[in-house]
């Protein structure tokens, strides 16, 4: 059992998402920063589909009634138990110890994975909260969360994953609606430095920058995925994140590669993002490199 002492602002339980219901218009949800989430689970020997906590807004602190291995990940994250400890590291926690997350002004999303996983009841096949539809809810001070059986122990502590560099340099694959933009506008998109708008949230990162205006003409709504960069007629692009709508009527100028989604999600209002063309090969290699970094953590048979 995990007891939440300080809940942050809008912290939720998340797992890898509920993609099986996207056809019913239900967003996938899941973590806004998929690599940070996956790394946290891997560090505590959980399966990839285990649920963990996405923390939005500090302070966030908690305690357990038994011993657990935990990992905290996220941008500029760290933690304190008796003293300061690093994030992106598996840490053994004894019953009754208070764990407090630390961060900086740039810590938009932090993750806490616990060995055994958070075992709240699933809804529609997933434990991921989707607040706009009343699926799950924000964590509250004093509440307790059930946990699964821990397959980890003190001997599994002190393993680390190298934290990604959240540098705002984002790789994308062009399209699928490249032909909806003139060559001039496409060139401007790849030359521009965009800034993150303060209305950005788990649904999408909204960008401010030079106008990226699509050609005239209507586009019939089509399915959209995480990372799609939609461009409404006003010319301010939106990068779709975990809580995105499943269909959209705006042309998609490019799609962020999976490995770089966290760079977009973690950017705080006012921070700069730039987009670079990548090929399918590069996108896959980047993703495989991420997975290899985590596979090394698992116990070898």
């Amino acid at each position: 059992m995990m007891r939440i002492i300080e809940p942050g602002l809008r912290s939720t339980v998340q797992d890898h998402g509920r993609r099986e219901h996207m056809r019913l218009g239900i967003p996938p949800s899941g973590p806004a920063d998929p690599f940070a989430f996956r790394a946290a689970n891997a560090l505590v020997d959980n399966d990839d589909d285990a649920a963990a906590i996405e923390v939005i807004g500090l302070p966030f602190s908690f305690t357990f009634d038994d011993r657990r291995v935990i990992a905290v990940t996220g941008r500029d994250a760290s933690l304190t138990i008796r003293g300061r400890l690093p994030a992106w590291t598996s840490i053994f926690v004894r019953a009754g110890e208070t764990v407090t997350l630390r961060g900086s002004a740039r810590t938009r999303y932090a993750y806490v994975a616990v060995s055994g996983g958070v075992a709240t009841p699933p809804m529609l096949g997933s434990r991921a909260a989707y607040l706009p539809a009343g699926i799950g809810r924000t964590l509250r001070a004093g509440e307790t969360l059930p946990l699964g059986t821990s397959a980890s122990g003190a001997h599994r502590a002190a393993r680390t994953v190298e934290a990604p560099v959240y540098d705002g340099q984002v790789r994308v694959i062009g399209g699928p609606h490249t032909e909806r933009f003139t060559p001039d506008v496409l060139a401007r998109f790849y030359d521009a430095t965009f800034h993150v708008d303060e209305t950005s949230d788990r649904q999408g990162t909204r960008l401010v920058g030079p106008p990226i205006v699509p050609r005239a003409g209507e586009l019939l709504s089509c399915g959209v995925i995480e990372g799609a960069i939609q461009v409404p007629r006003g010319g301010a692009p939106i990068v779709l994140l975990a809580d995105h709508q499943t269909t959209g009527g705006y042309p998609v100028i490019a799609t962020v590669i999976e490995a770089d989604l966290g760079k977009v999600a973690q950017a705080v209002p006012g921070e700069a993002l730039r987009f670079y063309r990548a090929g399918r090969r590069e996108a896959l290699d980047a993703l495989r490199a991420d997975l290899r970094a985590l596979d090394g953590l698992r116990p070898t048979a």
Partner: protein, 197 residues
């Protein structure tokens, strides 16, 4: 993404749905059908893009050779025509409110696909005598259960949310219930009839 053309009709929407069904039967991942396109998702750790591309081609061929025969259920939606945009939309269409209600409730709609909000079904088509462009200024808060029209289609807001469609009435039916085994009242391919209350 598979694109099937620029303009849609019932046949194109049904084809998109059939391709999505064929893809989902392969077990690679979910598909998102819409008017004239289908997004096919797969996990590149489990299926290589080359294999996914080949399987997508097969799914399209299979869907085209055996078009979906499923006609879906008929769902009746008891509707009170009391929406804030009813009178203005009737005026805009140069018909009476009563005529608008008669035209809206007097036909069977097909659920093309779900999107925009959880369990929001795009229902086509509206009688062309009803002229209902989207609102120039979307509302910040449209209550759940609002029956709305826009751009030749109708829909029911499953959740209270922002929205730019014209609200002509409301229903007490629960359109989206995440705790139910089947969370969506209307599925793509179902037929829908609004019944005046």
């Amino acid at each position: 993404m598979v694109e099937l053309g620029e303009t849609f009709d019932e046949a194109a929407v049904a084809r998109a749905r059939a391709i999505a069904d064929a893809w989902e039967r392969l077990g690679h991942g979910p598909a998102l059908p819409a008017y004239v396109s289908v997004v096919l998702q797969f996990d590149p750790h489990r299926v290589s893009p080359e294999d996914a591309e080949r399987d997508a081609g097969d799914a399209i061929a299979r869907a085209d050779s055996a078009p979906s025969k499923v006609t879906g259920r008929l769902i009746e939606v008891p509707t009170q025509y009391d929406g804030p945009d009813l009178a203005e939309t009737a005026e805009h269409s140069k018909i009476s409110v009563d005529e608008l209600v008669r035209l809206h409730s007097g036909r069977e709609y097909t659920a093309y696909f779900l999107g925009f909000l959880s369990a929001f079904a795009y229902l086509g088509r509206l009688d062309p005598r009803i002229v209902a462009p989207r609102l120039a200024r979307p509302r910040e808060r449209v209550p759940a259960g609002s029956v709305a029209i826009a751009d030749g289609q109708s829909g029911i807001y499953p959740l209270t949310s922002p929205g730019g469609w014209r609200i002509i009435g409301h229903t007490d039916l629960v359109v989206f219930d995440p705790a139910a085994p089947d969370p969506a009242l209307i599925h793509a391919g179902d037929r829908v009839r609004f019944v005046r209350r």
